[in-house]
Symmetry: C2
Subunit: 210 residues, 2 copies
Amino acid sequence: MSERPTSPNRRMNDPQGLRQRLVDAAYVAFSTRGYHSSALHDLKRDADVTGGALAHHFPTKKALGLAVIQDRVAEAVELTWITPVKLAATTADGIQAVFAAIISELERKGGVSGCPLNNLALELSREDEDFQAAIEAIFTRWRTAIADKLRADLRAAPVRDFDFEALATLVVATYSGAMAMAKASQSVAPLKICAEQLTSIIQNKTALGH
Amino acid sequence: MSERPTSPNRRMNDPQGLRQRLVDAAYVAFSTRGYHSSALHDLKRDADVTGGALAHHFPTKKALGLAVIQDRVAEAVELTWITPVKLAATTADGIQAVFAAIISELERKGGVSGCPLNNLALELSREDEDFQAAIEAIFTRWRTAIADKLRADLRAAPVRDFDFEALATLVVATYSGAMAMAKASQSVAPLKICAEQLTSIIQNKTALGH
DNA sequence: CTGCAAACAGGATGACCGTCCTGTTTCGTA
DNA sequence: TACGAAACAGGACGGTCATCCTGTTTGCAG
């Protein structure tokens, strides 16, 4: 019931704000219900935007989807994963903290709707190569950030034959798969288990000794 | 151009065969293009089935989707994962063989369309609780089979504090996530990396020592 | 042979959805 | 103030899709 402050009858052009409301609503919808299951009609209602405004900013649904991926999904990965890991004392600490934060957030609300990046990756990667490229770029940035952190961990006490990229790939893959299992079971149990396994593995591998 | 042997003009009722053609076509379509992106019109064409026949066997699209999950997806997991792992000498051997088989199969054809179970899990788990239950059951069976094999591995030389279910969860999650990354990058590289990491981890954990 | 339910044919239907089109308003610029 | 481009309003349109409906055929029971 919250009317936007377009009080009397006067219109105010606000292209940036309107675009942001639109992308925000689309991000929520695409992340939870999926891209194809989200109708533009609902997005227009949620963002309080008319068809003409939508068409003006995003000529096609694909353009909106691309904006969601590049603006919001990339930002979400940056905020929930990359930055916390980078700021943590060690990679293992960072990963444990990220998992814990995500788990408690999921427990706060009722259900598990899954990782936005993973959801859109499986739905759109094969459908359109622009989507695929945008999604792959985020995965690459994510994996690279973890690999860099692992490299930093071992700056002081190097371990020979350590493949940073491979271990980072394992982390990203395990998280993605754990979230998929969590979504399928509507339970955070797979996330808790994989968090413990992963941190144990990383601590072992980054410890002294070959 | 391959006409089915309905040679002159005579019809032959074949409820089981028709149902099988339908579920087969739906399995392929749902696994590659996804559930919502697959139109019943295309399935009818692929399976050479009319609308009346389809409605007779599956009153709704959901019923067809449920049959695909319970009949074909469950069977696929059984054939490509559970049986090979069960027949292998060790869990690590089995997992390595399964990954290798899947990778070479993906390299044979051109693209990566992803794990059917994972694809449908992310698309349908939150949409309908019947779908969710059917998918969760397959994940549970999959994970349990791997845990059982791990238990069998350590029958002779037990390792204390070994959590079979947790390690099995890690395996399933890592595979699912690796396949998601493979789909996003349209490359088998994540699968190769995770296969190596996983077998290394399992061999370490199942080896002698605390 | 006969009746009857299951199996199938083929199209109608109504809802939905993305896109586009025409008109109106805002706002920077000159 | 005049003007033009951008921003926005609101609905029409065409296509698609899942479902349903009416009729016909098959095949088994009796």
